[in-house]
Amino acid sequence: MSGAVAMNAGVQSPLALGWLRLKQNPMAIGAAMVTLLIVAAAVLAPIIAPQDPNEADLFRRLQPPVWLGGEWAFPLGCDALGRDILSRLIYGARISILVGALVVLIASVVGILAGLAAGYLGGWVDRVITGLVDILLGFPYLIFAIGLMAMMGAGFQNIVLALVYKEWVVPCRIVRGETLAAREQEYVEAARALGASRGHVMLREILPNILSPVIVVATVRMAHVIILEASLSFLGLGVQPPTASWGSMVSEGREFLLDAWWVSTFPGIAILVLVMAINVFSQGLRDAFDPRMQE
């Protein structure tokens, strides 16, 4: 296998080479598959969920999982309103993944543009952007998000916004730093000498060279954002009931932890598994794509 990599090294783009290295990392591939499985479950929720996630029936209140005397129709048991936990988990994955992906995507686009502008243009543009970044860094993330949610009100759109407001700082700082290094490279000077505009230099010359650390960090941040969303939902500031979200499910079960541990535990495990899978995968990405990790 490694022989094949060496032979192909002559005819592959850096991206293709990284992909080749990634494919040889079993941990990363395993983690990617777990993540994909959860994503697939979220996408296919209406088809694969055994029950309606919002159908309550007080006769099933706190019904235990099937191996503790429950019934097969509700394999992981029911919550305090008698709703099927497995179905709620499957639907809850949609919120976690959608919030994670959207926040990281929007924050990356904003952060990349701001970071490029700050790093390449310098001057007052840089001072304004770094000033803003420093101010935002001064707030603890969760407190900042709680404050914003309190002002804007709960709801899916507001969670995404509240998290993006702070999340863009992360890619922005990375991109700014990488841009500061890249702008001194001779190929940037060469592009300018051939008549390239500033926008062209930033987006077409510098960006392709600094993209891989941004992508790697974006995946780590996705795990982070998923936890934040769960925390907000846990505090009741997330998606509003009855919509299922893992964070609110943990919260709903905490009164019954001693009698009906399954209500909180399963969504907790779901958060743990998803976040860990994403983290392991992004570790693999870093090993494969970060040029500084090579050799």
Partner: protein
């Protein structure tokens, strides 16, 4: 045609580029005047830090703040470069005046294919209507600079080419729009001797073929002797000597040029020892109003302790030395 009736392609007068340093403003290009005629090759010689590259970056408008560029006159093909806005200056770069950077190994973008890098210049300057047209032209350019199997290698990345090939590709990107003036900044520094000769021959050939003017920036007098029509020698930001290439080489009229020549090994005079110039070029910074070569010169006298202007010494030549006549004929 007499000199007076001929308008040069590029004419620069009184070009000064200043960078602030801790010690005060450094005039890294100090009152430099020169011209490049149509189809001519001007050799610019000087050691590292003498201001050769920055002179031409200044002409192109590529000096970034805090560097400050000023000039009395800067004309290119009848256009006043000083009067042009940034957008118009940019349109000239790459299309009419192209520059190849010192180090071909780093001057190509590692993340883009060669095709992208050559076609982008053409598309940016509207020299190609479509991507297909641009790619066809890129293949032609790569063939022109002597890259074997050009069509096949179009979508390769820079790291898949050898040093000499990368230098050729950089020349291809610079020539993509058929500029009227090519500024070749140390085109051979990163290459070994056999490849050096090939690249120089290539530039000479393209110059004839595309009828363009060339400015050849180098610290290697040997390179200049073979290629250039005229030579401009720079030292510490100033032009210290200029004239027809052969005359300057045979008969240097400034001690610095003479020193450069004496420090060059030659096959004809293997028995003669090489004479390095003693001392070091001054650090950039504010300079006293003295001859800048003063403390390295072997002819220093009281008469040298003043600011020496660049003076014509006949035959289209000029020297910035009090003892020009004596140096040339002594």
């Amino acid at each position: 045609m007499t000199d007076a009736s001929r308008t040069p392609l590029l004419e620069v007068r009184g070009l000064t580029t200043i960078f602030p340093t801790r010690a005060g403003p450094a005039r890294v290009v100090d009152d430099v005047s020169f011209h490049v005629d149509e189809g001519e090759c001007l050799g610019v010689v000087g050691e590292s830090g003498s201001g050769k590259s920055i002179t031409f970056l200044s002409v192109l408008g590529l000096v970034r703040p805090p560097g400050k560029v000023s000039a009395e006159r800067m004309m290119f093909a009848g256009q006043d470069l000083l009067a042009l806005g940034e957008r118009a200056r940019r349109a000239i770069r790459g299309r009419d005046i192209a520059i190849t950077m010192q180090d071909a190994l780093t001057a190509l973008n590692p993340a883009l294919t060669v095709a992208t890098q050559i076609t982008e210049v053409m598309l940016a300057h509207d020299r190609a209507g479509s991507m297909d047209e641009a790619r066809a032209a890129a293949v032609e350019m790569m063939r022109l600079v002597g890259i074997p199997a050009a069509a096949k290698r179009l979508d390769d990345y820079p790291h898949q080419f050898s040093g000499g090939m990368r230098q050729r590709i950089m020349i291809a990107t610079a020539l993509a729009c058929r500029p009227r003036l090519l500024i070749a900044d140390e085109p051979t520094t990163a290459l070994d001797v056999t490849i050096q000769a090939q690249v120089l021959e290539l530039i000479a050939e393209l110059r004839r073929e595309l009828r363009m003017s060339v400015v050849l920036i180098t610290h290697d007098l040997g390179v200049v002797v073979e290629q250039a029509d005229r030579i401009m020698v720079m030292y510490a930001g100033q032009v210290v000597e200029e004239g027809a290439a052969r005359e300057v080489i045979e008969d240097a009229a400034h001690p610095y040029t003479a020193g450069l020549l004496a420090s060059m090994p030659s096959l004809d005079t293997l028995d003669r020892p090489i004479h390095p110039i003693r001392g070091q070029a001054p650090m950039p910074g504010p300079m006293p109003p003295l001859c800048r070569f003063l403390d390295r010169c072997e002819r220093t006298t009281e008469a040298c302790r003043k600011s020496v202007p660049l003076q014509p010494i006949g035959g289209g030549r000029a020297s910035r030395c009090v003892w020009a006549e004596e140096v040339a004929h002594g």
